[in-house]
Amino acid sequence: MRFLPHTDADRSAMLQTIGVKSAAELFADIPAQLHIKEGSLNLATALHEAGIVRKFTAAADANRHAGNTRCFLGGGTYHHFVPAVVDYVISRGEFLTAYTPYQPEISQGTLQTLFEFQTMVARLLNMDVANASMYDAATAVAEAALMARRITRRHRTVVATSVNPRYRAVTRNYLSWLDGEEIEVPCTGFATDLEALIAAIDDNTASVIVQYPDFYGSVYDLAPLREACDRHGALMVVSFGDVSAFGLIEAPGSFGADIVCGSGQALGIPMGFGGPHIGLFACRQKHVRQMPGRVCGMTEDADGRRGFVLTLSTREQHIRREKATSNICSNQGLMCTANATYMTLLGDAGLATVAQRSAAALAQLVAGLPAHVTAAGGARYNETVLSFESNAVRDRFLKLAEERAIFAGIPLEKIDPDASNEHLLVATTEMIEATDIADYLTALEASK
């Protein structure tokens, strides 16, 4: 086996040093009836490296993908451009094959990168601090709900249904094992219903969770919500699906959000069929000791030189055990490096361009829609809902589009089980060119 360095001679010598006669003796503490026969597991037979490459290549070739299909899919995962440099950086063994930086002296590469990541995330969201990642957006939202409960010592969580249904489902799940209630406030016209939401807040409310831009791409003013939260002493939690938005529109922190969380996938991480992505998580400095997850801080070494360490670990499971702020241990480390590299390559100006073009593409698409399709109105970032006169027309269009190498949108009911079946959730990024929009519109025309 190519990953096993020992020769049989090595093994014999080692067994002798140990003082046993055979490798089997090393397993004598496992009751005999538990031993399975070598080779008896129902697995495939071993493959050499060439065989594995062939197998995975064949599997990959069996798929359509955003490299050979124009991708108008969003819903929390976006086909943004990933510079080759990002991939190179995270492929370097020194980043790729290191563990969590428990020994800071020989982990300063990871640690300084985390510090830069935290800083850039906090700045992009306009928040005081950010942690070193959560698993994904959905679990980040759930953790935000829990964090708000800890801070407020209240047990009521209000969630807008314009929050991605998957984030809501995970949050609902997490909360369901605890005391308290979770209230979901319906939206209207594929946009957040702020009034209804504000009406749902009371003095027992730990937090109100919204998404901005919301699940349907709608952008709206969070100021009234901030006021309402203040009135009731509730925390305002703002989630997001495509973080690239904040290169263009006002950041959640600017509205006074207490916790901001969502997906960092847009920042240099390929869609990868759903993962690994990354959950970004930011909060106010004053709440930092209630924050879940790892965090990197600045300090000095024995010679007085600046350096970085994981810090505030008294919040964490390995110190605090059942009283920890979260159970998270392994997080999305390498994806922080990907995000940091991406943001470094783009800077403010590049991030603004990505956002501007992502939004402009949607606007061009919507402007060209034929009469038999309507788009949800109001301010939208790079995502909206197209509504067809019937499920049949919609699905005919999807088929026509696929034939033209276009993934035209996500049937809304696929993500949102409550939705009816004549809608499409449609997203655009800077990977969409004018010709792609033209082809999309032609297919729409043809579907009538």
Partner: protein
């Protein structure tokens, strides 16, 4: 400072300022695709008023920045990494290429199922393989890491009891040797944890266990081999007792590397097990993650598995989102796909013929290290170990040297230290896990270094130990200062 018998040597590296100190401009030179067009008028009122303050670097500068930073890290590719409980094994390079195939990397999770059959087939096969390896046939790939798997498992166990109307089971028993995630996960699932004291041999004490079992116990969470590297030989009896008391047994699979292909948790009576594929199946740790923590369960728990799951009907693979008794989703997609695919490739490379060699070489290596070090270091629980061995600093304490000093001295000699101060059941723990992908030569170098450190302690030759590490770009860092007044972001 530099002992030529060990790899650690002083060399030329590069200081690298923070990005924020380096970059001096708002503009970056990136060029991007996309439509040229105006910002939609409807968004004008929402325009960001102040730029975020993310300094761009040109591509040449960015590459140099991160390449230099990378060189400050120790990785499995640079040297031995015997972090106990972490299973730092070699990460096959070909796996990095596989997950970057455009037909895998650029799939959208919600693209039509028919257009992603290749990916679904690989994931389904992995589900099957993991079930087979665990001896627990029903698998969810959703959990994002081990701790997340624990949470998922405990949720399922709770759902199981509740579905039976057995609602007063609100306690999870956790050995005092358990990893911190175990009690934390139980707490997150709304259950109370009660710690059970390990026996003198570091294993679960059957009497202690019995004393705690009751009709309020939802589950026992155990790790086998345990976090001291010892196999719980009474595992069958333990499971029987728990089951008899109406509870279920949750297995923390972080230590599966000792068993893979040799024995199966399901056969032992464990009901539910997470598998840290970033340990046992060699997906790279990435400086903290991402990992994946699939959970395998038996028939009793199967109805409660989280959704979505991948199923096969005929020749077609589906993502199934709904099931009557499912606890619901725990993650935003089917799982950390890229991580899971690497794990599948690792299993495929060994196959049915060779899979057990992972465990046999891992256990061989740990016992070899133990055999070579057991006279010089205190072994709290003598006897054979499994994939890792536990020592303490008791002997070295007499010379004023503690585990931390030993760890830091190892750094200067070119090794990543072992896990220190875990498990908590011994004082000054040093938990050493060599894994199956290390050569005898490397183990010998490491043992030689450990023995020399022990001799230096005996000889009172301890200055280098107190001062260590001297070689890396930074020496010991002040963690107290960091925690007291946390500086978590850069202020220009």
């Amino acid at each position: 400072m530099n002992d030529t018998r060990y790899s650690g040597v002083a060399g030329l590296m590069h200081e690298e300022p923070l990005l924020f100190e380096r970059a001096h401009k708002a503009a970056t030179s990136i060029s991007l695709p996309g439509v040229e067009g105006d910002t939609p008028a409807a968004l004008a009122g929402f325009a960001r008023k102040q730029a975020a303050g993310i300094p761009g670097l040109s591509e040449p500068e960015a590459v140099r920045h991160f390449v230099r930073l990378s060189q400050w890290n120790h990785g499995i590719e640079t040297g031995f990494y015997p972090l106990g409980s972490c299973t730092m094994k070699y990460n096959p390079r070909v796996h990095e290429n596989l997950v970057r195939l455009p037909g895998l990397a650029h799939l959208h999770p919600d693209q039509p199922e028919a257009t992603a059959q290749g990916a679904l087939a690989l994931l389904f096969e992995l589900q099957e393989w993991l079930g087979e390896i665990a001896g627990l046939p029903h698998v969810t790939l959703q959990p994002a890491a081990g701790a997340h798997g624990e949470l998922t498992g405990i949720m399922m166990i709770r759902a199981y009891h509740e579905a039976r109307g057995d609602t007063k089971r609100r306690i999870v028993l956790v050995p005092d040797s358990a990893h911190g995630t175990n009690p934390a996960s139980a707490a997150l699932a709304g259950l109370a944890t009660v710690e059970i004291k390990s026996g003198a041999d570091g294993r679960i004490d059957l009497d202690e266990l019995k004393a705690h079992l009751s009709d309020e116990v939802a589950a026992v969470m155990l790790t086998n081999p345990n976090t001291a590297g010892a196999f719980e030989s009474e595992i069958v009896e333990i499971c029987r007792l728990v089951h008899e008391a109406g509870g279920l047994v949750y297995g923390d699979g972080a230590n599966l590397n000792a068993l893979v292909g040799v024995a199966r948790p399901g056969d032992m009576g464990i009901d539910c097990l997470h598998i840290n594929v970033h340990k046992t199946f060699s997906t790279p740790h990435g400086g903290g993650g991402p990992g994946a923590g699939p959970v395998a369960v038996n028939e009793a728990l199967a109805p409660f598995l989280p959704m979505p799951r991948i199923e096969k009907s005929g020749d077609h693979y589906h993502i199934v989102h709904e099931a009557a008794n499912s606890i619901g989703p725990v993650f935003g997609s089917v799982g950390q796909v890229g991580v899971l695919l690497r794990a599948a490739a690792y299993i495929a490379a060994f196959g049915r013929e060779h899979l057990h060699k992972i465990a046999t070489d891992a256990v061989l290596n740990a016992n070899y290290v133990l055999a070579r070090l057991k006279d010089a270091y205190h072994v709290p629980f003598p006897g054979l170990c499994k994939h890792e061995c536990l020592l303490t600093d008791e002997i070295q304490n007499h010379h004023g040297i503690k585990t931390l000093d030993i760890a830091k001295r190892l750094i200067d000699l070119g090794f990543h230290p072992m896990t220190v101060y875990f498990p908590l059941i011994v004082h000054g723990a040093m938990l050493i896990e060599p894994t199956e992908t290390e050569s005898k030569a490397t183990l010998d170098h490491f043992c030689d270094a450990m023995l020399e450190i022990a001799r230096d302690c005996e000889a009172g030759n301890v200055e280098a130990l107190h001062e260590a590490p001297l070689m890396p770009v930074r020496r010991r860092l002040d963690e107290t200062q960091a925690a007291r007044k946390p500086v978590l972001v850069w202020q220009d």
